[in-house]
Amino acid sequence: MQAHDIILAQHPFFAGVKPQTWSLITPCASFLHVDAGKYLFHEGEEALYFYILSEGKVLLEAFDAQLGAVPIETIAAGDVLGWSWLFPPYRWHFSAKALAPVQAVTLDASCLREACERDHDFGYVLVRQVAQVLMQRLQATRLQLLDIYRTPERGKR
């Protein structure tokens, strides 16, 4: 096994993958290093990779002509990054910038989608895991939207 295969096999995201499926996944994997301040991808670009961060920190941001780059969320080592590669039109909705030097295992998106088509059991596991991450991020985003630390307007003495 190569180093990135070991990282993938030990990552909780791939916990439900059957041993025989690894031969479909590992050819999709490679290592990536991104220096602090550099971008992993930009909004609107084709979503070519799925990222498993093993080191560093990534900031997701949106760009607005008036506001500039608006930080949305940080993704830490141990997290996975990106799901636009799984759903058409396969384009990133936000940009991702390395806040600290990033080490990641990347999985080639078309290779991974092809693996899903060839092995629907794997496809189910993958989509279920992505849905789990989506749910966690959605719940966190909803909490973020509540603006819970604002000064209350009434009911305080």
Binding site: E73, G78, L146, Y149, T151
Partner: protein
């Protein structure tokens, strides 16, 4: 800590305020400030435990409960961090050093700091919720060897709303503390974490089977934090929350702070999660 007997006048009548002078006012963030209070009469000292609160009385305006946020090892000075959010707290914001106010207390059930000895301690604070947990930090750091890993996770609204900025910087620089800070909103000049404080929990280093968690912040933040800590494997009885209700008498007498079977002033403000889990999702109370 030097044990000192409870102030005699407090022992006699918990409804009688003692006079304290504002020795110093420290501006923290835009709407939040800290008072350092000194007793007017002699050397009266009221020992307090982490997590307890005092009733602070602005004469002619009103009285509100405010957590103690100073060092329990230095009870001769009372330290209170106050957010100007209502009529009384806004009046407090206008008071200058030298003003005399009334103080009743300390009241309430404290954080389980002694029970946490020998265990990892996970402190999760949101917004001004860091104030009552600062006392815990002082105690843990004064007796650092008695505890396992100490993790402080702090969430604020924006980078400008981060409370106790300098202390957090000092704590982050220590090798025997894990401190992570996140903000809900940021501009491009912020290089730290962005996102809610619950997102820090999966990355925190502690042993869930041998840890005590102490949470303070908006109720909804504590509820979701407790859920995340349970996902990590922590038992509900090892997760403690500091609740806030409309406390008036502070001795379980008037009923203003009734929280189903509890009075928050007397039975709390610190509760274990297993005692109040069901109440946190009830709309009627």
């Amino acid at each position: 800590m030097t044990m000192t007997s409870i102030a005699p006048e407090l022992a006699q009548d918990p409804m009688l305020p003692r006079r304290y002078r504002i020795q110093r006012v420290q501006r923290e963030i835009s709407d939040t400030f800290t008072w350092i209070l000194q007793p007017v009469e002699g050397n009266t000292v009221s020992p307090f435990a982490c997590g307890q609160f005092n009733m602070l009385y602005v004469f002619g305006v009103g009285e509100i409960p405010i957590s103690l946020s100073g060092d329990p090892g230095k009870p001769e000075l009372l330290v209170h961090t106050i957010r100007a959010a209502g009529a009384v707290s806004r009046a407090m914001q206008t008071l200058k050093a030298g003003t005399v106010i009334g103080v009743r207390g300390p009241f309430g059930v404290p954080w389980p700091v002694e029970a946490a000895q020998g265990k990892d301690v996970v402190i999760v604070a949101g917004g001004i919720g860091l104030a009552p947990l600062r006392s815990v930090m002082y105690t843990l750091l004064a007796q650092r060897a008695r505890y396992g890993r100490v993790v402080l996770l702090y969430g604020a609204r924006t980078p400008q709303d981060i409370l106790y900025h300098k202390e957090l910087e000092r704590w982050r620089a220590r090798f025997d503390l894990d401190v992570a800070i996140t903000v809900d909103r940021a501009s491009g000049a912020w290089f730290g974490n962005v996102g809610v404080v619950t997102r820090l929990i999966p990355h925190a280093s502690f042993d869930p089977s041998n840890a005590i968690a102490m949470l303070c912040g908006p109720e909804i933040m504590m509820r979701f934090t407790a859920i995340e800590l349970e996902k990590r494997g922590m038992a509900a009885e090892h997760i403690f929350l500091s609740m806030e209700r409309n406390m008036h008498c502070a001795i379980g007498f008037c009923g203003h702070c009734q929280y189903s079977p509890y009075f928050v002033c007397r039975d709390g403000p610190v509760f274990s999660y297993d005692r109040i889990r069901a109440l946190l999702v009830k709309r009627e109370i």
